[in-house]
């Protein structure tokens, strides 16, 4: 019976050896392959997210705020420049008003000239009458009035000249007055048109500036909203990059497992003594790099816990501060 048990035990051990010899290398190679595939995928993902993070950071830092400031500054400059154009128009209109005033004064002076010409005509006519009367008297007096008749004749000629000249002055003054009136009228009409144009221009400029200002405000708000969204996206991407770094930890854990499996597989293949179980466990433990591995090892040794319970227990125990930074 004991011999049978021993034979059965030997058969069992031999079967286990044979199985281990074949299956452990396969496990190891599969784990290694899975590790390589995961590494490659995570590397690609990490690169993509890191590039995204850089692009978003560049967009945040580049010229968003600067564009908003420039837009507001441009709006203010436009308001100032357009206001100065309106002021120039007003000044031009004021100068035209002054010109119209001058023309009116000129028209008044032309009228005075006309009055003076009438006075000269009247004087010439009266002088002519005096000359006629003088000629009559000279004729009545006879020979003694000859000298007087000559003087009367001269006065009569002077009177005619003065009358002709006064007439010419009147005609010229009338023509000048008509011309001045025309200029005055045109200037008045032009001034009225300018005033209307100014009023229209002021309205149009105000409307355009108001619309421009409204649009600029919308753009600034949209830009600020986009900046805020970009900041949120940047933070999310940074969190993804942090999460993807788990690959490095997984890779180290899998490498440790493969190494241990390969060592065991070599001993089995060479039919060497595989040694003490505790020594194996200690050697395996000595290569741990993360707290989770130490916790799993401790839980395994203290009781037969399921993987999920070990995982839950590991998660509930104090975790190292990821990203923990110590300055020396």
């Amino acid at each position: 019976m004991i011999a049978d048990d021993m034979v059965s035990e030997n058969d069992h051990a031999r079967d286990l050896y044979t199985l281990s010899e074949s299956i452990i290398p396969l496990w190891s190679q599969n784990i290694e392959e899975a590790k390589l595939l995961t590494n490659k995928s995570i590397e690609d993902l990490s690169l993509k997210f890191a590039n995204l993070s850089q692009q978003v950071r560049h967009a945040i830092n580049s010229d968003t705020h600067e564009n908003s400031s420039q837009l507001v500054s441009l709006l203010q400059q436009s308001q100032e420049q357009l206001s100065s154009v309106i002021d120039l128009l007003k000044t031009s209109i004021d100068e035209k008003e002054a010109l119209i005033g001058s023309i009116s004064e000129l028209a008044a002076k032309a009228k005075s000239l006309g009055n003076m010409a009438d006075i000269v005509t009247r004087i010439a006519n009266e002088t002519g009458m005096v000359a006629v009367n003088a000629a009559i008297e000279a004729a009545r007096v006879g020979e003694r009035g000859r000298g007087f008749a000559v003087v009367a004749d001269a006065v009569k000629r002077l009177s005619s000249d003065a009358s002709r000249t006064a007439s010419h002055i009147s005609v010229t003054v009338n023509e000048v007055t008509k011309g001045i009136r025309k200029v005055e009228q045109h200037s008045q009409e032009s001034a009225e048109q300018d005033a209307q144009t100014l009023a229209n221009a002021d309205k149009v400029v105000s409307l355009v500036l108001e619309q421009f200002g409204g649009m600029a405000n919308k753009l600034v708000k949209a830009s600020e909203a986009m900046l805020s969204d970009n900041r949120n996206v940047s933070q999310e991407i940074d969190q993804v990059i942090v999460s993807l770094q788990f690959q490095d930890r997984v890779s180290q854990m899998l490498s440790n497992v493969c190494l241990n499996m390969n060592e065991l597989s070599a001993l089995i293949a060479n039919r060497e003594d595989i040694g003490d179980t505790d020594e194996w466990l200690d050697t395996f433990r000595s290569k741990y790099v993360m707290q989770e591995q130490y916790d799993i090892h401790a839980n395994q040794q203290h009781g037969h816990l399921s993987t999920s319970k070990i995982h839950k227990k590991t998660r509930s125990s104090p975790q190292p501060d990821l990203g923990d930074l110590t300055f020396f």
């Binding site: 590494n39 995570i42 590397e43 990490s46 690169l47 890191a50 590039n51 993070s53 850089q54 950071r57 560049h58 940074d238 990059i241 942090v242 999460s243 993807l244 770094q245 788990f246 690959q247 490095d248 930890r249 890779s251 180290q252 790099v289 993360m290 707290q291 190292p320 501060d321 990821l322 990203g323 923990d324 930074l325 110590t326 300055f327 020396f328």
Partner: protein
């Protein structure tokens, strides 16, 4: 002129993430995949700071740290150890070997940049 940082890690994805984080902040980056590779690239180039993993094949981070401190050009170059190891004994080893800081992975890019800005050579 941009300052140069050497990043030493056997994980290509970690080198990528650290590299892009640092380049995005305006630094030039030289990458090495383990301590031995890093030593071969320390050929007199001015390095203003190093970010180094601990567990690497061929030459681990602690061994590299000790070797680099023997080189006159790099004796005072600050080194940040960036590692999954959080145990105190490893931290003590790192400090004794000459590390200036110990950061546990995974890291937040702004946190790394903050540490770099505090330690990098002028």
């Amino acid at each position: 002129m941009a300052k140069t940082i050497m990043v030493i890690d056997d994980s290509a994805s970690v080198r990528q993430v650290v590299g892009i984080t640092l380049r995005g902040a305006g630094y030039d980056v030289i990458e090495a995949q383990d301590g031995k590779d890093a030593l071969s690239k320390l050929n007199g180039t001015k390095i203003h700071l190093m970010v180094c993993d601990v567990n690497m094949p061929n030459m681990n981070g602690i061994e590299f740290l000790k070797a680099s401190k023997q080189l006159p050009a790099y004796k005072f170059t600050p080194v940040i150890m960036l590692t999954t190891e959080s145990g105190e004994d490893k931290k003590v080893q790192g400090q004794a070997a000459g590390a200036k800081a110990w950061m546990v992975k995974p890291f937040q890019p702004p946190q790394l940049l903050n540490a770099v800005s505090k330690l990098i050579l002028p």
